[in-house]
């Protein structure tokens, strides 16, 4: 009897996504190996925006580096400022006045709300819901950027924090405006959620996609909402309680299904918790100085320090080596999204091409920080 070969002979094909692709939020390329529609392998290719910030940082003085940190993750310039100035403060043992600590917390928590709103808007953009949710997010972001402009003079590249405090005290009229923005935020988050959380298309595209088990997330050094959506209770604001985070009462939301949808839910809930922190900070903020006087030529003592904060995207750390001169000997940026991307191939294997877009959107990358 003759046997007939019934199976089709198939081959994998290689698909190139990016570097110019609307889903990549910048210039980021993925080389995808496909078996039919299913992803067998994925290789991220990055560096298109590389400026060698770390080398520039060694050339600059300590103070000159602050505006450069704005341009890492250009949505969260305040958080980047905070991570860097806290690292230098640890190096030079500078005490920060009470009022400055509160101003910093207010600024970084506002940044967290901006970042998560934009991240969710961008995720929905990627899923094909073009710019309607994004504009809801941007509308609220505008009000917060107005506050940043009032305090620092700039909307995105704030360059606001300094070693031992902040550049300017809050201008008159800031606190009433802040109170009205914060009072309006819960309604905005509720509306945002009402439009999206139970949306059927959102659920179909996000639930069960890109599942990241807790042990894999920890092994791959994932941080931020990506890690917490995998059910790992690790928030550096709680673990290290840097600055004055121990004075505030807030919860750390965790995911239960470890998928793209959970990352969305964690971000929504983190916005709510940020509002809680803001409300407490507004109540507690004291009067007083906002900066300390430092010598014009700033030379921290020799040594090396690492300081990390919970930036909206994950663990943002600065490792500084000082040789006692005016410039850092080594200036290393531990950028959260660069390291979160390590897990991308694992997340995408077995999914379809369309899911890659959702998974990448849920990691929430900014290429300025990935490539540095």
């Amino acid at each position: 009897m003759q046997t007939v070969e019934t199976r089709l002979r198939t081959e994998t094909i290689t698909l190139n996504m990016g570097p110019q692709h609307p889903s990549t939020h910048g210039v980021f390329r993925m080389i995808i190996t496909l078996d039919g529609e299913t992803i067998v392998d994925l290789e991220p290719v990055m560096g298109y925006l590389h400026r060698c910030q770390e080398k520039i940082g060694e050339r600059n003085t300590y103070l000159q580096n602050i505006p450069y940190t704005d341009r890492l993750d250009y949505i969260c310039s305040m958080s980047n400022n905070l991570a860097y100035v806290m690292a230098v403060e640890k190096l030079a043992q500078i005490e920060v006045p009470e009022r400055a600590e509160y101003i910093r917390i207010i600024m970084v928590e506002l940044t967290r709300i901006v970042n998560h709103a934009v991240a969710i808007g961008a995720l929905l953009n990627d899923l094909g819901c073009f710019f309607t949710p994004m504009l809801y997010a941007l509308e609220e972001r505008e009000r917060i950027l107005d506050l940043f402009e009032m305090a620092s003079g700039s909307r995105m590249m704030c360059n606001y924090m300094r070693f031992g405090g902040v550049r300017y005290d809050l201008p008159p009229g800031f606190m009433p405006e802040l109170k009205s923005v914060v009072a309006a935020l819960p309604a905005f988050i509720d509306e945002f959620e009402r439009l999206l959380t139970d949306n059927e298309i959102m659920r179909i595209r996000c639930q069960g996609v890109g599942i990241l088990p807790p042990d894999v997330a920890v092994g791959y050094s994932c941080t931020g909402p990506l890690l917490r959506a995998s059910g790992v209770d690790y928030d550096i604001r709680k673990v290290d309680s840097y600055s004055i985070y121990d004075r505030f009462d807030f919860d750390v939301p965790l995911g239960t299904n470890y998928d793209v949808y959970d990352r969305y839910l964690v971000r929504i809930e983190e916005m709510r918790q940020s509002v809680r922190i803001l409300e407490q900070a507004i109540e507690q903020i004291p009067e007083g100085e906002v900066s300390v006087k430092l010598p014009r030529v700033f030379k921290p003592p020799e040594g090396d320090v690492y300081h990390r904060i919970e930036s909206p995207k994950g663990e943002l750390g600065f490792y500084l080596v000082s040789d006692g001169s005016t410039n850092p000997y080594r200036y290393k940026i531990r950028s959260p999204t660069f390291i979160n991307l390590t897990v991308l191939p694992e997340l995408c294997k077995g999914h379809k091409v369309a899911d890659v877009v959702a998974i990448l959107g849920s990691i929430d990358i900014v290429l300025g920080e990935v490539d540095r």
């Binding site: 060698c52 080398k55 690492y306 290393k332 531990r334």
Partner: protein, 155 residues
């Protein structure tokens, strides 16, 4: 924190030369040959399950690779491991098989600092392109000048 771990490590590895380095962030200095075993012990027995950062530093007399380890359950402090590598042929063992999260970070250190990681599954440049000459974060890398690129490459 680091002190206790150091003492436990000395008990565990009496043969190896470990050194406790005082500083703002105390660290433990490890020889490159012993790094993998020490790291495996820290991960499997001491609960340091999270590798936060891999950094390379170019000192005048040596290269140094610095690992910041944390424990997800135990609490705050980083445990810092420092490994020296020679100026001529800098090479340290790769820790990707312990923490897959070290993958891109080790590639970055290799790319920008030129330190090789023995046993890395795919050690190639990550931020710069294949064919780039030199490692920009080294102190002897010129900060001014031109490099002609993309002549022979067609794709």
């Amino acid at each position: 924190m680091s002190r206790e771990v150091y003492e436990r490590l000395v008990e565990e590895f009496p043969e190896t030369s470990l050194e406790y380095l005082e500083g703002k962030d105390p660290a433990i200095s490890v020889k490159a040959d012993d790094l993998f075993e020490v790291a495996r012990h820290l991960k499997e027995k001491q609960g340091y399950d999270y590798l936060s950062a891999v950094t390379g530093v170019d000192y005048p007399d040596r290269f140094e690779v610095i690992y910041h380890l944390y424990s997800m359950k135990e609490g705050p402090g980083p445990l810092i491991l420092k490994v020296s590598a020679s100026k001529e042929e800098p090479e340290v063992p790769s820790l990707v098989s312990l923490w897959p999260g070290a993958n891109f970070q080790e590639r970055e250190v290799y790319d920008l600092m030129g330190i090789r990681f023995a046993g890395h599954p795919d050690l190639k440049r990550i931020l710069l392109w294949e064919g780039y000459e030199g490692h920009p974060l080294r102190k002897d890398f010129p900060i001014e000048g031109y490099q002609t690129i993309g002549q022979e490459e067609s794709s």
